[in-house]
């Protein structure tokens, strides 16, 4: 029954690989949970769709899912997780370097706009306090650019660089592969090697025994036939009886060998499990370290963006308020009046005597 379930499950897995991953989760939840209750699928975990094939959260198409960890080669799931962590570091750096660049571009744009606008205003026909205020406002609004330059700098220093350092320290590479992952791989292999040998022995012993059993059963059947055959000769009967007893002895020997291997397996199982667990725990620690680092840097990212008490913005607001307070339309009107208006000294006609 179990075999049939597992078989159908494998078939289903294969089908799902072909269908677009996007619908997987819904289908999975609808169908699989109804027909094949999966004991360890923690329903609390929310998946963010859609996902890559061996993403831990993807259950159906993930070749590691639902296998026992101690089964041969299943430790690869742990190795994949390490590799995933390494790729995550790279992606992290890309994402936040991108963001820092974006902020820098914005700040540069603001700077350009401010410089150009101020130049235009200086060359314009505006005058007086109005002009002064206009320029001061633009100058003050440049502070926003400063804020974003600071954000970009903080992102670069406290987020991107830190992750780059972490990646270098923890995922040091030799030419082809990440050293740490290779180390784990070797340790797992070493822990599992004797076990694989043992399993091999067991399988062979099982096959030998079961083959022998088959032969034995055949011989027994032949014996029965010959017994009931009146025309059989004595010689034939003896031959058959001999083969029956030979096979029987063989079976017993093979069976005991088989059972012995099983016993050996049972006694070495605890050790095997422990040594596998020991390596796995080391991968857990490595992963825990990575998760802690990510959390730290996510917090740093947040800090980089916080502009609540940003000094530049405070400065900007102050500059705005001050400048707007100096705006004085009357003063400007008066100034213009005294230079070009009715307060100018007009040359009034007077009697001008002729001079030699």
């Amino acid at each position: 029954m179990v075999k049939w379930l597992k078989g159908s499950y494998r078939l289903w897995q294969w089908c799902m690989l072909i269908i677009d991953f996007r619908f997987n989760e819904i289908l999975f939840k609808l169908i699989i949970h109804v027909q094949f209750p999966i004991p360890h699928m923690n329903n609390k975990m929310q998946c963010i769709l859609p996902q890559g094939q061996t993403t831990p959260e993807r259950a159906l198409s993930n070749p590691w899912f639902d296998k026992g960890f101690c089964e041969p080669h299943q430790y690869r799931a742990a190795l994949d997780r390490c590799k995933g962590g390494y790729e995550s570091c790279d992606m992290f750096i890309d994402i936040f370097a991108d963001r820092a660049r974006l902020e820098r571009e914005y700040a540069a744009d603001l700077e350009k706009w401010a410089a150009l606008s101020i130049k235009q205003i200086s060359q314009s026909k505006e005058f007086g306090v109005n002009k002064k205020v206009w320029v001061e406002l633009i100058r003050a609004s440049k502070e926003i650019g400063n804020t974003h330059m600071d954000i970009a700098q903080r992102l670069q220093d406290t987020v991107v660089e830190k992750m780059a350092t972490y990646k270098k320290d923890n995922y040091g590479k030799s030419i082809l592969h990440v050293k740490k992952i290779k180390e784990f791989e070797r340790d797992f292999e070493q822990a599992q090697k004797p076990w694989l040998k043992l399993l091999d022995k067991i399988n062979r012993a099982k096959k030998d025994y079961q083959d022998a059993q088959r032969q034995f059963k055949k011989a027994e059947t032949a014996e029965k036939i010959i017994e009931s055959d009146r025309g059989a000769e004595e010689e034939q009967k003896t031959k058959v009886q001999l083969s029956v007893s030979t096979y029987k002895k063989q079976c017993e020997a093979l069976k005991s060998k088989y059972l012995q291997y099983i016993e050996e397996m049972k006694s070495s199982r605890a050790n095997y499990e422990n040594s596998m667990k020991e390596v796995l725990d080391r991968t857990h620690s490595f992963e825990r370290k990575r998760l802690a680092q990510f959390k730290l840097l996510f917090t740093a990212f947040h800090q980089a963006l916080v502009i609540d008490k940003d000094p530049h913005l405070g400065k900007m607001t102050e500059a705005f308020t001050q400048s707007l307070n100096t705006h004085d339309a009357d003063k400007d009107i008066q100034w213009w009046n005294s230079h070009f208006g009715s307060d100018t000294n007009t040359n009034w006609p007077s009697f001008e005597e002729l001079k030699d």
């Binding site: 996902q51 026992g68 994949d80 995933g84 992606m91 606008s117 633009i138 996510f298 000294n345 009697f351």
Partner: protein, 325 residues
């Protein structure tokens, strides 16, 4: 009275204490060196054109202000779109990645934070585009109506100035005419005098008559000239007040513009402040992010992984399998 009753021009004290921005002015009222209108008396003929120019400048300046804001709105819009693109791109990448658990959720929150920031700057851009700039343009349209070649308002002012100045100009022309006549008479009288003095006895009498005529001419020309000048003196107050009245209206028009500019500047500063401080979206962004950070749980993630791929999984252990037919 002096030949030139104009006092020497002293720059008002306020100007010298102003920062470099006005000293560096190369155009407009503050650029004295380049400004041909500077140093003339307002009431002199044609000098009122400077007030008309100021009216027209107002239109250009309003245009300039609107352009400046539009460029700013554009810049913000670019930033907004970049933030959005960044947020969406990395959200998709993250979803396809090997990441899992609360760590993944928190990471996703950082992408969302980008989206929220984009919202804030999008709002800034649209408050410029949807409210500030249209208001500016509308104000400009209302106050600077154009008919085919000129601004109505300016034309109106011009007409009024011309009306006020018409009779005065005529008067000035008259004065100028009489002055020339008087000078000419004076010159002629002098010539006649000289001729008389240097002439011989017989001609003296003839020339003396001529000189007498010339002198009388001078007298009458002088009288005419003086009368014209007096007329001007009489007319002056009426003329001045007529001109001033029109001028005050241009002043009021300019003040309206200055007040509107101040209003616009204030609104702009408010828009910028809204985008950067006390902004509800930014606040929410911070709140959401903080919540995500506290939800981050390495242990939960690790134990989930362990349950699904680690030692908590049910391994199949080999067991004795009897032969079956």
């Amino acid at each position: 009275m002096n030949l030139f009753s104009r006092k020497s021009v002293v720059p008002p004290p306020s100007l010298s204490s102003q920062p470099s921005i006005s000293n560096a002015a190369t155009a407009g009222p503050e650029a004295f060196a380049n400004n041909s209108a500077y140093g003339r008396g307002f009431f002199e003929p044609g000098a009122y054109s400077v007030a008309l120019k100021r009216c027209e400048n107002g239109h250009d300046l309003a245009q300039q202000l609107a352009d400046m804001f539009e460029e700013r709105a554009q810049l913000e819009s670019v930033y907004t779109n970049q933030l959005r693109a960044w947020s969406r791109k990395w959200h998709t990448e993250l979803v396809k990645s090997q990441e899992y658990g609360t760590n993944k959720k928190l990471w996703d929150q950082t992408a969302t934070a980008g989206e929220q920031m984009a919202e804030v700057h999008g709002a800034l851009s649209s408050s410029l585009t949807d409210s500030l700039i249209p208001k500016l343009r509308q104000w400009r349209k209302d106050n600077y109506e154009k008919s085919r070649i000129h601004y109505k308002k300016t034309k109106e002012f011009e007409k009024e100035f011309m009306d006020a100045q018409k009779s005065w100009s005529k008067l000035l022309d008259k004065i100028s005419e009489y002055k020339s006549a008087y000078y000419a008479a004076c010159k002629a009288a002098k010539l006649a005098d000289d001729a008389e003095r240097s002439a011989s006895e017989e001609q003296r009498r003839k020339l003396a008559d001529k000189a007498e005529v010339a002198r009388r001419e001078v007298g009458s020309a002088k009288a005419k000239y003086e009368q014209a000048v007096n007329e001007a003196r009489e007319q002056r107050p009426r003329y001045e007040s007529a001109m001033k009245e029109v001028f005050e209206r241009t002043q009021a028009f300019e003040k309206k513009r200055l007040d509107f500019f101040k209003e616009t500047f204030e609104e702009f500063s408010k828009v910028l402040e809204t985008a950067t401080e006390d902004n509800p979206t930014l606040k929410k962004m911070n709140e959401d992010y903080k919540t995500s950070i506290t939800a981050h749980d390495s242990n939960e993630d690790l134990s989930w992984w362990d349950q699904n791929y680690g030692t908590q999984t049910n391994s199949r252990w080999p067991e004795y399998e009897e032969y079956r037919d």
